[in-house]
Symmetry: C2
Subunit: 409 residues, 2 copies
């Protein structure tokens, strides 16, 4: 039951000149399910990515880093669901390599021009034969208007396809930014989400793309958590096909650079929030905002302590304003010199705690009213400095347990 | 549904000379429920404690530290359930102080000779009138054989009373060690469990008691986790009444010191494991053992990453050997230079992963067989050094969500 999230119409997703997408049913794990997606990029596209910091990073993530470093110009993305090809050792890396070889052969490009991505069950061998057999159908389907298909093709436990698209005028030209993402569990990106792909036809110096993808990840996918589990496969890719007509952007600080930056961030944030709204078992979308910290790092640490607490998350599920649990999480967030007697806690506009204790005017009925909403902001003021940070999360429900207890069956 | 845990018979719990216990129903939160416990210690007892590192530590914890530091000789412990008196600010501290005053008056001792403990809902005012009204009944009931009553009197979401007792011969004298503990949720002690009280009639230099209580906490309550939430009220108290007849223990390294140390550790570990066995919604007792680390700290970090992962915990609940989730947790435990290609993973005696990937001889049926057991050991070898560490946890079930969604209703 996603929280205020519906799939976009295919017609709402702007095509991006220079990007064609093909989707197929390869039967990787289940039959009759879109599970193979190929992005084909025209020559000249710039591509940058950020990846999981999980030390057990998946074979395709290792290969993405290698191929992005090879500098041959990325021409294709190859994405499968149903199998993560993680925890698969040397054999997994060989299989990922062979999947790139197979696609490169059929597209007449070099293997290092392919970026591979996998998502699904960990520690099972990638069914290479089925993946390879699905490639011709995916290539045959290549189309600039297949973004919604692609969003559906990368879903695992997602219940809603996640896509976002914006148009912005840069110089005198129209520029498009369209992206898709997937992920519903094992979500606590430390670099990027499970999988996110954003493309733009903007014209931008390739070096700036690295800066932009890092910043976009930090402001979007690196601010969400469903269950605190950092995935082995997190990847976030930004592609710029350079096909629009405006003068090339040479600085993100220029008016044109800022316009593109804001649009990419807006698309990335919408996609990241969509992952939380469709978080496994989610019934509520919760913004945790920490203010008054010494630096953004400690604000984020406190925000994640709240956002990861199973006790806080079950209280939200129950719409029970058992808000002392939030104070407890603030207390164990690891700030050694935190003075609890200074803390303010707000639930939306309701002032719940002041100076570390229940606010004298706080009435439980007011907390109860906010807790029943489907969108809630928890705001904590630490009174230690001027920094602030925000993360987005969902509640912990029976369905989370059901989904993850039954995932493989 | 606790895992292989039943309450002991009252007759299995050795009384400890110099300790009397009185239990009453004060109606702190619910009526007709034992919720007030008084320990009365004869003069001359030595008492040491360790407490939560949560910065939002409860008012009674603050007062315990103050009273233990006052050096007047602790003569009483005052414990209530139903209200944690945490997140209650200055008013909470005043109420905790008045509760000590009230008991001190009735026992004709100084307020600083009383240690107060509270457990229950956070951020609600302690109902001091009801607590005070219950004191005469508790004092009237004082008895050396009331350990089981006390274990019942400190329960909140616990389903089984937790107590352990051992006898050991030191010199020519019999020495007794008896303890109780409570806690089922908000359990990830960073210093000690929610509440644990262990008493012995051993004769020991008071300075050694501090060392012993820290070591006992580190080997027992600091190794358990139910949900990763470090409570505001964790307290673990060790009392030595000095009433046995053996020569005073002046070193924990002497044969007598070692005998006492082992007995106190055994009682503490039994109590700590009882908390996990009765973890909210628990259906399985899981030992996570990490070997081959550079130091015990990094072993513990990896162990807790596994023990806190909701994905790992739901897989155990489902008896689903979806063991890649364990590798993923190892990967995000925060060891920057971990080499995943060296990792071994065992489930009891089954070798699941070797060199970071699925073991070639591993068959899922064998993993499945172990996953169905009620007691399971997860063993990971990091191949980085000679250190090892072990933590105990339980699975994450529907009942955990139900219990915490409905806790206050």
């Amino acid at each position: 039951m996603p929280v205020n999230l519906i799939a976009p119409a295919a017609s709402d997703l702007h095509p991006v000149a220079g990007v064609r997408i093909g989707v197929a049913m390869a039967g990787i794990r289940k039959v009759n399910r879109k599970d193979l997606v190929v992005f084909a990029l025209d020559e000249g596209a710039a591509v940058a990515g950020v990846f999981t910091r999980n030390r057990f990073c998946a074979a395709p993530v290792q290969l993405c880093r290698e191929h992005l470093g090879a500098g041959q110009g990325i021409r294709a993305l190859l994405i499968n669901t149903g199998n993560a090809n993680a925890g698969t050792g040397v054999d997994g890396l060989a299989r990922a390599r062979r999947s790139c070889d197979a696609l490169a052969r059929q597209m007449n490009i070099a293997p290092a021009q392919v970026l591979p991505f996998s998502t699904g069950v960990i520690m099972e061998p990638l069914p290479l034969d089925r993946l390879e057999a699905g490639l011709p159908a995916a290539l045959h389907a290549l189309d600039g208007n297949a973004w919604l298909d692609a969003a559906e093709g990368i879903m695992t436990t997602d219940t809603v396809a996640k896509a976002a698209s914006r148009r912005v005028t840069i110089g005198d030209s129209e520029v498009h930014v369209t992206g898709i993402a997937k992920g519903a569990g094992m979500i606590r990106p430390d670099m990027a989400t499970m999988l996110g792909f954003v493309a733009t036809d903007a014209v931008i110096a390739p070096a700036l793309l690295h800066e932009l993808v890092s910043e976009a990840a930090d402001e979007s996918f690196n601010r969400i958590t469903v269950d605190g589990d950092t995935s082995t496969n997190d990847s976030f890719i930004l592609m710029a096909t350079q096909r629009s007509a405006h003068a090339r952007i040479e600085s993100l600080g220029s008016p044109e650079g800022r316009a593109l930056r804001e649009t990419v961030l807006a698309v990335s944030i919408q996609l990241a929030q969509a992952i939380v709204r469709d978080g496994e078992g989610a019934t509520k979308f919760i913004t945790v905002r920490i203010e008054g910290g010494r630096d953004a790092g400690e604000c984020r640490r406190v925000a994640y302590a709240i956002a990861h607490s199973p006790l806080v998350k079950t209280a939200f599920f129950a719409s029970d304003p058992n808000l002392g649990r939030i104070l407890a999480a603030v207390g164990y967030a690891g700030i050694a010199d935190l003075d609890p007697d200074l803390i303010d806690l707000y639930l939306d506009d309701v002032h719940v705690a002041r100076q570390g204790g229940r606010h004298p005017q706080y009435e439980e009925a007011r907390g109860q009213r906010v807790m029943r909403q489907s969108e809630i902001t928890v705001r904590v003021h630490l009174h230690r400095g001027a920094a602030a940070s925000e993360v987005w999360t969902c509640d912990l429900s029976h369905d989370y347990v059901s989904i993850n207890a039954d995932y493989r069956s």
